[in-house]
């Protein structure tokens, strides 16, 4: 892997009063290389969205610990006033709810143009031309004629296209997409995923895609980070995850999704419920639902063990069985 574009080391995010904090994300480390597309997968309460907002420093909670380095610079060290210059220009973001993520009182043209204006496009004509180009790029038919349209005149899929146009207008080096297709229908989801791949190809940026759906991640991403209850439990390239998952959670997740390759069997089910965010303070967060759990799992959170050149997972049991060694310290 070449130089990292984004590197999170031991990031911990807390909400609530400082005296009784709720840790929603704990000790999360992973990185995104230049031009790479990485998926962050997890269920509700896994902390995946909070992690993505923490990178942009757009969360209500506190990053209590850790470093978030972008091109070698720790974003957490920067004064708050330095962040707007980075947001939208270096790191851009799109969100889950296309219906509410656009300002209802501003035309879509103005909203895309605003992203440009905020990052140095002061010439009006150039800005307008670029806005049309971007809307064209994301497949808004008759882009020039739609500049003056308002969001309510667009469907959900179209709004998500506008969001993408706005996000990539300044050619950011990293696009964070937080469940960008969850609110959309299947056929529209296919369109938007296709568009994200196209835009990435044309603009050469890195993508961090957050989703609960491994299928979506498999479609877009080269590498996957699996989160559970605020922690990273496994990380690998996509092919390895799909064929040789090591963490019992990843294994169970893959086996419980209905799909072609195991249609005949009864669906595998992970027992129990997803723990609410911040409810597990000690040991492996998956142990209560894990068939392999041993007493040690309740006492100590397993570190990441290396299972191959591109794969590591946090499980005492599989690591011992496969003789995996502890991955190098995250720094």
């Amino acid at each position: 892997m070449t130089q990292d574009l984004l590197r999170l080391s031991d990031v911990t995010v807390e909400f609530g009063p400082p005296k009784r904090p709720v840790r929603v994300v704990e000790g999360v480390s992973f990185s995104v290389g230049k031009g790479e597309s990485v998926g962050l997968v997890g269920e509700s309460g896994s902390g995946k969205s909070v992690t993505s907002l923490a990178i942009m420093r757009l969360i209500g909670g506190r990053v209590a610990k850790g470093r978030i380095e972008f091109e070698g610079r720790n974003l957490l060290d920067l004064p708050a006033s330095a962040m707007p210059a980075i947001r939208g220009r270096d790191i851009a973001m799109i969100f889950q709810e296309p219906m509410s993520s656009l300002n209802p009182l501003m035309t879509v043209g103005d909203q895309v143009a605003e992203a440009l204006l905020l990052h140095g496009w002061h010439d009006r004509t150039a800005r307008r031309k670029r806005t049309v180009e971007m809307l064209d790029l994301v497949g808004i038919p008759n882009a020039e004629g739609r500049l003056g349209a308002y969001p309510h005149q667009f469907s959900g899929g179209m709004r998500q296209r506008v969001m993408i146009a706005m996000a990539v207008a300044c050619e950011p080096k990293l696009l964070i997409a937080d469940e960008p297709t969850t609110a959309l229908d299947v056929t529209i989801q296919a369109q938007v995923l296709d568009l994200m791949k196209k835009v990435r190809r044309e603009l050469g940026m890195a993508i961090l895609l957050i989703s609960h759906d491994l299928g979506v991640i498999a479609d877009v991403c080269e590498r996957v980070v699996v989160m559970y209850a605020g922690r990273v439990v496994e990380e690998a390239d996509i092919r390895t995850i799909l064929t040789r998952p090591q963490h019992p959670y990843t294994q169970g997740l893959l086996r419980s999704v209905p799909r072609r390759s195991h249609e005949a069997e009864r669906l595998y089910q992970i027992p129990g419920s997803v723990p609410p965010a911040g409810s597990i303070r000690q040991g492996c967060p998956f142990r209560d639902r894990c068939e392999l759990a041993v007493p040690r799992c309740a006492e100590e959170m397993p570190p990441m063990f290396r299972f191959g050149p591109s794969q590591s997972a946090a499980c005492w049991v599989t690591a011992a069985a496969k003789g995996a060694s502890q991955a190098g310290a995250a720094a």
């Binding site: 089910q269 027992p271 129990g272 419920s273 723990p275 609410p276 409810s279």
Partner: protein, 294 residues
């Protein structure tokens, strides 16, 4: 089969009861304790007026006209030599009774109208909500003034006026809440298991719209007290010589050069009591209807 599932129950951080929340909301805020004290004092004074008032509120005395505050008359006397403190003490009875009766009557009437209109929809709803909308276009005070202009003053007329002025507000809230609740799948679930409509309304609709109605009732006690004062001030509420905080100010205004004390005293009391009920209403709202707060 169930043995293999073992869905461990994780009780979400133990859900506090409504009363526990109410207690917390009341006693964690100094302002609410203050409000509670004021309200209790107010109720006690009104209930025990004959014991507390030093004089007969109607007794005139030509010798004691327009006296400033003194030991004998802590808030002075008015232009007829009546003791202002005694008048204020007796005036609280009007505020208390009207303050409670009208909002409660309006809540019952308005909830009934709103639930019926919201649940059944159609023609009934169209008529009811049209009239509600129209009446709501009028501020309560103006509506009360206009109705009182027709009916005239007096205790029961004021009750009627305030009830009519408040009913549309309750009806709107009840209707909107009913419409929202009616969209909830659990209502459809009740239909799907074959429950009769009256039972659906009693079991599944009313308990779930009760919170905003109760909150509104508490908040409107404050409005009722202020409105009664306004009407009495305008001469279309409680009729002299019966004392009411509003008509004490009215009398005071006619005697501006005589003594400002009746105005100052009565106005301060209205402000204090209304403030206290508003604070209490906010507390009840925070306890019962957290989503409506802010």
């Amino acid at each position: 089969m169930s043995a293999s599932i073992n869905p461990a129950l994780q009780p979400l951080a133990s859900q506090p009861s409504v009363f526990a929340t109410l207690r917390r909301v009341i006693f964690d805020r100094p302002a609410t304790i203050f409000a509670l004290v004021v309200v209790i004092l107010f109720v006690l004074v009104a209930a025990l007026a004959p014991l507390i008032a030093p004089y007969d509120p109607l007794a005139q005395s030509i010798l004691d006209v327009n006296k400033p505050p003194s030991a004998a008359h802590p808030v002075g006397t008015d232009q007829f030599g009546r003791d202002v403190l005694s008048r204020l003490v007796y005036g609280s009875r009007n505020s208390l009774i009207l303050g409670f009766v009208s909002p409660v009557l309006a809540a019952i009437l308005g909830t009934f109208l709103g639930v019926v209109a919201g649940y059944f929809g159609g023609f009934v709803d169209r008529i009811v909500s049209r009239i509600i909308d129209l009446l709501l276009a009028f501020p309560e005070l103006l509506l009360a003034i206009l109705i009182a202009a027709v009916l005239g003053g007096g205790f029961w007329n004021v009750v009627a006026v305030l009830t009519v002025a408040f009913t549309p507000g309750f009806a709107r809230v009840a209707r909107a809440s009913t419409l929202a609740v009616k969209q909830e799948p659990y209502i459809e679930a009740a239909v799907a298991v074959g429950l009769r409509t009256p039972m659906i309304i009693l079991r599944h609709v009313v308990p779930n719209i009760a919170a905003p109605i109760v909150v509104l009732t508490t908040l409107w006690i404050a409005s009722a007290i202020r409105l009664e004062a306004s009407l009495s001030f305008l001469g279309i509420g409680t009729q002299p010589p019966n004392p009411s905080w509003g008509n004490i100010i009215r009398d005071g205004l006619n005697n501006l050069f005589g003594s400002p004390w009746p105005i100052i005293g009565a106005g301060a009391l209205i402000t204090l009591v209304v403030l206290a009920f508003n604070l209490l209403g906010d507390a009840v709202r925070d306890a019962l209807d957290p989503e409506a707060s802010r």
